[in-house]
């Protein structure tokens, strides 16, 4: 099996994996970063969202071989103490229900607010449309993105 050097949360990890292994499963099963979730495996739900060079990406669609040389951030590395403004807002609003989708939601929201710190309501709704929450905590997510944007600006 080939070996890959991955830069994840500012640390280098060397892993052995099949070329076509989605980064999602490398993170979860090989590097023990289980915060990134599996929901569909086909890019539909956003539970697996991570940041790649600052952009939000579906880790279930990114093969490990494509991830070399990129700077990858997972939910575990979003902030050192769990206090990124988006995380703070999530806590303030008490967004999670079952919580399973929330890492992906937070990763989407944080990359989005980085690029657009003062979004309109419809921009927020568009930006978050790719993340499914089966518990339908959408009202709270929307509210939390607003709160986070206030914190960031």
């Amino acid at each position: 099996m080939p070996t890959f050097n991955l830069k994840i949360n500012n640390e280098t990890h060397t892993v052995e994996a099949d070329m076509d292994t989605p980064l999602l499963w490398v993170l979860r099963d090989k590097i023990n970063l289980v915060g990134t979730k599996y929901g569909c495996g086909i890019g539909q739900c956003g539970a697996c969202n991570i940041h790649v060079d600052g952009n939000v990406m579906r880790s279930c669609l990114l093969q490990v071989s494509q991830a070399e040389g990129m700077s990858i951030t997972t939910i575990e590395g979003l902030s050192e103490h769990g206090d990124h403004p988006v995380q703070q807002a999530w806590k303030e609003i008490d967004v999670p229900q079952c919580g399973y989708c929330q890492a992906g939601q937070i990763m989407t929201a944080s990359a989005f607010l980085d690029k657009n710190p003062k979004p309109t309501e419809s921009q927020i709704r568009n930006a978050m449309h790719g993340n499914i929450c089966r518990c339908a905590s959408y009202n709270s997510i929307e509210q939390a993105v607003k709160v986070a944007s206030e914190k960031m600006s």
Binding site: D18, P22, G99, A136, Y138, N139
Partner: protein, 739 residues
């Protein structure tokens, strides 16, 4: 609930206290039993040992309180709200309370088999008693130390004060308290003195969730654990004929390929059945891999041949069978008041409509999975299941092991919606590990999860009303459903008791497709059907929609009927509140409103949907939701539940469709199966009826009525009555993708 009351209870049934070797005091209680409505079990204390308890309050010498809550968390917030109730009566500051869901590591308490009702309603009184008992023991200990009467002591936030203003913290007296008898009688607080209940408290796992810590079944790992992917028949009605695993075995990450099914068949062949076993008993091919991906990839490389074993059913047949049943002799009468036949024979007009809903998968975002490690010594099972006690029992029978050898631990669950009541995935995991005698985690892909589900069955209703001299004289509801019916539960819901001549009949069609409970079982579609019907009925009767309901509920008040389960007063209360808060009848131009009012799962709800049309496509902008759920324990959690229920209800009523073609499910992932997304969601504006009555559940009751609120609003907007879900598909409008 009357203000502060003295209660005597047979605490022996579910409470026991003890000193801890490490210092401090522990009170054990059986949440499973305590949460049953008939909590007062006639059990002799001497017969009990700690393994009978599954929930504990630990009070340390520092005065910190740890509540070991075994209650599985599926997203309903009970892991937060149940400890809130205990802490309230215990009189401690919420900041001093820690909630842990983990087996205690003390040898005596390792049998952490937990389970129980998700319902706050059942747990309410028992949890209060538990907290109040612990407080009473601490106060008794302080009073004894001071040599005074307990009535001379006051407690606030874990500090006991006597009349001389001397104080003792809980931690100071905990060792003495642990040695005292459990009091027979305790006093519960007056709800108006509550300081924790009614305050918004964050989810106790919030920090872990937002930082991605391992919590869920899919995150659980043990040294040497392998991953298992199960290849099940692609169609209901098929069994395995043969398979070729050479492709899979040649993959470097594949460790083994095995089959399972033998144990399950032996179980069934011996004449045993279990309600939780909603699964095919055919042989299944299992690929064991080093990682999840290895197992999934290996599964794709298996070439299997399946053969037909029973009917390969299609939605087309189901539709026909169910429609036929609605007019057949197979209907059984579940409730009959007055003389419906006569009312219809004498009617001037009859309004009759058919309402239809498809199968639905649960689609918990965390797919079904379970860890199993079967060794000669024991069977260790870990994962997201709502019914661990039943899982333990069935696995012990399946593998023919002593029940004491089977240990079940629960993880947090990535959604439940009814799916994790069933244990199929636990039994598969156990059988796999039993074959290879290694620790494994069975992981379903989304496709596995959606295509081998335990579905909400498809159903159809025919509802008819007889009208004479402009008045409603009779109501006749018939239900035809796949596999199950309403079990006589629903006949006592509104409008039972409100219409003199009233009848409910049901029939079902037996299918080999596995079906079961889905969020708000029985009513999740029924409410949509009935509340759409009432909207049309008001129009035919030429009466205001709100007045029709108010009058019917007035009938119930005037002729009380002992069997009905709802309260006419409380239904009127939520209806009034929703009308007031939604600006009913005074909506802005271009905003169309629809109303729905319903009682289920012990909670009364009224909802008003505001719909606008954008290029002819309906868009739900707002839902006003009035709820009477008694005392609101945790407003933050309650809001989440209510909003989630409303949006989930809209999503499934509008967009989600699921059918079969020759036994094969027609969707297998979120590219073809639509779940509601943010752009499609309205704002949900929640209002509670102020109440001092015992709390009732919120996980389910806001979901059923909302379909009708939306359908009724769309009717006003478009003039089209929607009777078949999902509405968007059956309206033939292209849905706008982004909001």
């Amino acid at each position: 609930m009357t203000p502060s009351k003295k209660i005597t209870f047979s605490r022996r049934s579910f409470l026991k206290s003890s000193a801890l070797a490490s210092g401090g005091m522990i009170i054990g209680f059986n949440l499973f039993n305590a949460c049953k409505p008939e909590a007062k079990l006639p059990v002799d204390l001497s017969q009990l040992n700690y393994s009978d308890f599954n929930a504990f309050i630990k009070i340390s010498e520092e005065g910190k309180v740890t509540i070991f809550s075994p209650n599985p968390e599926i997203g309903q917030g009970v892991k937060t709200s149940m400890p809130m109730i205990i802490a309230e009566e215990l009189e401690v500051a919420w900041d001093d309370v820690y909630v842990v869901q983990a087996p205690l590591d003390t040898k005596n308490y390792t049998r952490q088999v937990a389970g129980g009702s998700q319902s706050i309603r059942h747990g309410w009184e028992a949890l209060r008693q538990t907290g109040a008992t612990a407080k009473q023991m601490l106060v008794n200990a302080a009073a004894a130390r001071w040599g005074i009467e307990t009535s001379e002591c006051k407690v606030k936030e874990g500090v006991i004060t006597n009349t001389k203003d001397e104080t003792l913290g809980y931690g100071d007296v905990v060792l003495e308290a642990a040695l005292l008898e459990v009091p027979e009688e305790v006093t519960l607080k007056d709800p108006k003195d509550f300081t924790i209940i009614g305050q918004g408290k964050s989810n106790v796992d919030i920090d872990k969730i937002i930082t991605g810590k391992p919590l869920y079944g899919l995150d659980y790992k043990e040294e040497g654990m392998l991953y298992a992917a199960v290849l099940r028949p692609p169609a209901f009605g098929q069994v395995l004929e043969s398979f070729d695993d050479s492709g899979a075995r040649s993959l470097p990450g594949v460790v083994d390929v095995i089959t399972i099914g033998e144990k399950l068949r032996a179980f069934k062949d011996s004449g045993k059945t279990n309600w939780s076993m909603q699964m095919s008993t055919t042989d299944k091919v299992v690929v064991i891999g080093k990682t999840t991906w290895d197992a999934m990839k290996g599964k794709k490389a298996i070439k299997a041949i399946w053969k037909k074993d029973s009917e390969l059913e299609s939605t087309e047949n189901h539709d026909k069978e169910l429609l036929d049943l609605l007019d057949s002799k197979d209907l059984t009468t579940k409730r009959s008041d007055g003389d419906v036949k006569k009312a219809f024979a004498e009617a001037d007009t009859v309004l009759e409509r058919i309402y239809e809903a498809p199968f639905l998968p649960h689609n918990c975002l965390e797919p079904m999975n379970f860890f199993a490690n079967v060794t000669p010594e024991k069977v260790h099972l870990v994962g997201p299941v709502q019914t661990p006690a039943s899982a333990q029992k069935v696995v012990s029978e399946l593998l023919e092991r002593d029940i004491e050898d089977v240990h079940v631990e629960m993880t947090r669950m990535g959604g439940g919606f009814g799916r994790r009541l069933y244990g199929d995935f636990v039994y598969e995991a156990a059988e796999i590990s039993n074959v290879i005698q290694k620790p494994i985690k069975m992981v379903s892909s989304r496709e596995d999860d959606m295509t081998t589900g335990v579905y909400r069955p498809a159903s159809k209703y025919k509802i008819a009303a007889s009208i004479k001299d402009g008045k409603l004289t009779g109501y006749h509801l018939k239900e035809a459903c796949i596999n199950v019916n309403m079990y006589g539960l629903i006949p006592n819901f509104f409008p039972a008791g409100a219409v003199k001549n009233y009848q409910v009949d049901t029939a079902n069609y037996k299918s080999n497709i596995t079906t079961g409970a889905w969020r708000a079982p029985y009513t999740n579609f029924l409410a949509s059907a009935e509340q759409s019907f009432f909207d049309e009925l008001a129009e035919v009767l030429n009466i205001d929609r709100v007045k029709l309901h108010m009058d019917l509920l007035e009938n119930v008040k005037n002729n009380p009927e002992p069997n009905i389960e709802y309260s006419p007063e409380r239904l009127q209360g939520v209806l009034k509140l929703a009308v007031e808060k939604s600006n009913w009848g005074k909506a802005a131009d271009g905003v169309y409103q629809g109303l729905s009012v319903y009682y289920c799962h012990n909670t009364h709800v009224a909802e008003v949907a505001d719909v606008i049309l954008e290029n002819g496509v309906p868009n739900v902008k707002k839902v006003t939701c009035a709820v009477d759920c008694g005392i609101v324990i945790n407003p933050l959690g309650a809001m989440n539940q209510i909003r989630g229920g409303v949006l989930d209800g809209i999503g499934h009523a509008m967009y989600s469709d699921f059918g079969f073609n020759n036994g094969v499910p027609q969707s297998s992932n979120f590219n073809t199966y639509q779940l509601i997304r943010m752009g499609q969601t309205p704002k949900v504006d929640v209002h509670f009826v102020e109440s001092n009555l015992d709390p009732t559940g919120l996980g389910e009751p806001t979901l059923p009525p909302v379909g009708a609120a939306v359908a009724n609003a769309i009717y006003k907007a478009t003039g089209k009555r929607l009777t078949k879900q999902p509405y968007m598909k059956n309206m033939n409008v292209e849905e706008k993708v982004l909001g």
